[in-house]
Symmetry: C2
């Protein structure tokens, strides 16, 4: 990723976050990887928001560089690569959960499934552990 502007984060946590994923597509790729468990380039390319393949490639490169994703050979098929979230990316799940709650309150057209919301509201820590489990 070639950032349009480089934020010197100077130790500020929000600036650090803005630097790592203050970009719409990066946030959407994180969603695909963390919540929908997507691994392959072509799976990511088919996200419903319609990302262009050059943008996807540049954001994946940026996310590797900032330590959010690791690119590896697919153990099931040596000619393909898979992208896996790092600990640093998985540790964003609590923030994702807060964004889900926020959007469910403020988006009049929210599509957050009611059972997901209920699960989060009942026990947030447990919901996060369950989201994380497939990667552990």
């Amino acid at each position: 990723m070639t950032p349009k502007y480089k934020v010197d984060h100077t130790g500020c946590p929000i600036a650090f976050a803005a630097e790592a994923f203050g970009d719409k597509w990066t946030l959407l790729i994180l969603r695909e990887v963390l919540l929908f468990k997507k691994k392959h380039f072509d799976e990511l390319l088919s996200m419903r928001e319609g990302i262009a393949s050059n943008i996807l490639a540049s954001r994946l490169k940026g996310m590797e560089a900032s330590g959010l994703l690791v690119k590896q050979e697919d153990p099931a098929n040596g000619r393909r690569v898979i992208y896996s979230p790092t600990e640093k990316a998985l540790d964003l799940l609590p923030a994702c959960v807060e964004l889900i709650l926020w959007a469910s309150k403020h988006d009049p057209e929210t599509g957050v499934p009611a059972d997901m919301l209920a699960r989060i509201r009942r026990n947030r820590a447990k919901a996060i552990r369950e989201m994380r489990a497939p990667f552990d």
Copy 2:
């Protein structure tokens, strides 16, 4: 704000969030308003990351349009305007707190003050209420 690309969020909470503030500068402006209680254009312009005034103006307009900020006449000086966070913006404080915890763990140069971290870890809900209190 003229978005570089418009994400059709189709009910997805993360896409809704990406649409509202999937932009570095918007996230930094939110920080200035929510955490540093800045209100005036020139205060925002002096953020340490060095935002250009045309970018600040366009992002403020976008944040008004997406319902994160309200622009009003400054009661202390009728010739100035102030920007205040809406309920929708204040409801992002829990996500901000998660980002602070995340950055304090993953940024080797983190500058998160130790007392702030301790306060959040001791009682997250109380820390959020205290951040919110000046706006209520």
